[in-house]
Symmetry: C2
DNA sequence: TAATGTTTTAAATGTTTGTTTAAATTATCT
DNA sequence: AGATAATTTAAACAAACATTTAAAACATTA
């Protein structure tokens, strides 16, 4: 086996990841992927059997990228306040690095949830993280409002993710550049953190 | 002209709207639309010249549905606090009635913003609504934190919209039914309202 | 009723789609 | 070097695609 650089299989997977993220499953053709990878069309099927199989493999990776770190943070052994802030910061970094990821996941799951169920199942761990316990404990102690992890999750992830999903709309509506948008998003991130802490924690 | 029921043109447009909302532009074929409308395939092009033209016409209507009422509320002559609450409530009703609308708009704009620019331009009115003035005035008076309409907009629309965009993911992750989801969404709506008011308005 | 204009139809258009084939090339091993 | 296996290629495949055609069916008006 030639071991200089990437293998053809890796090249195709990386190209497919890039194109799927940008155009979605329906908007992507096998030829798009082959072109991006600079490889012969037949190789897609030689290595992955079908466009669908290749997609599912990539989707699994991307869903993992979308959620795994968040689950890990939720399970960290750190104070609640710190954990909330770290979660928001992580969400921000994640969507900044991979701006197409959230809308991609949302859209594919929205269009055909059934075929992705095996992958989605791993999201169930969210319910049983250390964060859930902390929310219960702190509420019992009267330190925070009683609130479920179901309602905290969108605060920590969704509010930031939404800003980036609507990036193009925002840029057109408010006539700003990409650079200005990032500044705005960062500003909003700080507001979100303040607002969450302000809401969840009760005054002593 | 026969005037019983809908005209063929209306039937096709309504069918196309339904299918585009569900499957997006790339995922929709001319035959899907013709089947949904129970009409001959050729009629799509007879009335609308092309799939693209039909799509653009429908997209315009849907973007209007997505934003017009919000702009109107922003321009209403009512107190700020009331306006914020009404905006959140309206967003909730809008996405509840048309659950596919938000992800559809987000995704189409995300994939090809250029071709939709003429339609998106009308979003610019957001910047110059009565709400913007109110935010400035109330901040000057020391009643609220200084905050721009750019940062209030996602609070009033995005936070609720995100919940519904991730509906399928939520239902799988937390193993709940559609009915339970709506209950959850309603609960979160109230949290959002409390949280926004709590954050924006300063204690006297 | 005959002539005219509009709407609907079945069939065909030429592309593009995902996938396969079989030959050509390259690498691996004895 | 020669045999064997793995990879890559150009070409072809049928199916699905958006769109067009020309004739048929319908409605309208003179």
């Amino acid at each position: 086996m030639k071991c200089i650089g990437q293998s053809s299989e890796e090249k195709i997977k990386e190209a497919a990841r890039k194109v799927f993220l940008k155009k979605g499953f329906d908007g992507t053709t096998s030829r798009d992927i082959a072109n991006e990878a600079e490889m012969n069309i037949a190789l897609t099927n030689y290595y992955f059997r079908s466009k669908e199989k290749l997609f599912l493999e990539i989707f699994k990776d991307l869903l993992n990228l979308y959620f795994q770190d968040t689950v890990n943070i939720f399970n960290k052994d750190i104070p609640l306040r710190e954990k909330l802030i770290e979660s928001v910061d992580h969400t921000f970094e994640m969507v900044r690095k991979e701006p197409d990821l959230v809308i991609f996941i949302m859209n594919e799951v929205h269009k055909a949830p059934e075929r992705l169920i095996p992958d989605i199942n791993f999201l169930r761990q969210i319910k049983n993280t250390r964060l859930s316990q902390q929310l219960e404990e702190e509420a019992k102690r009267g330190n925070i409002r009683p609130i479920s992890v179901e309602n905290v999750l969108p605060m920590l992830c969704g509010y930031i993710q939404f800003i980036f999903m609507g990036k193009n709309i925002h840029m057109k509506a408010f006539e700003v550049t990409e650079e200005q948008f990032v500044t705005y998003a960062d500003e909003h991130k700080n507001i979100v953190k303040d607002m969450i802490i302000n809401y969840i924690f009760l005054p002593k």
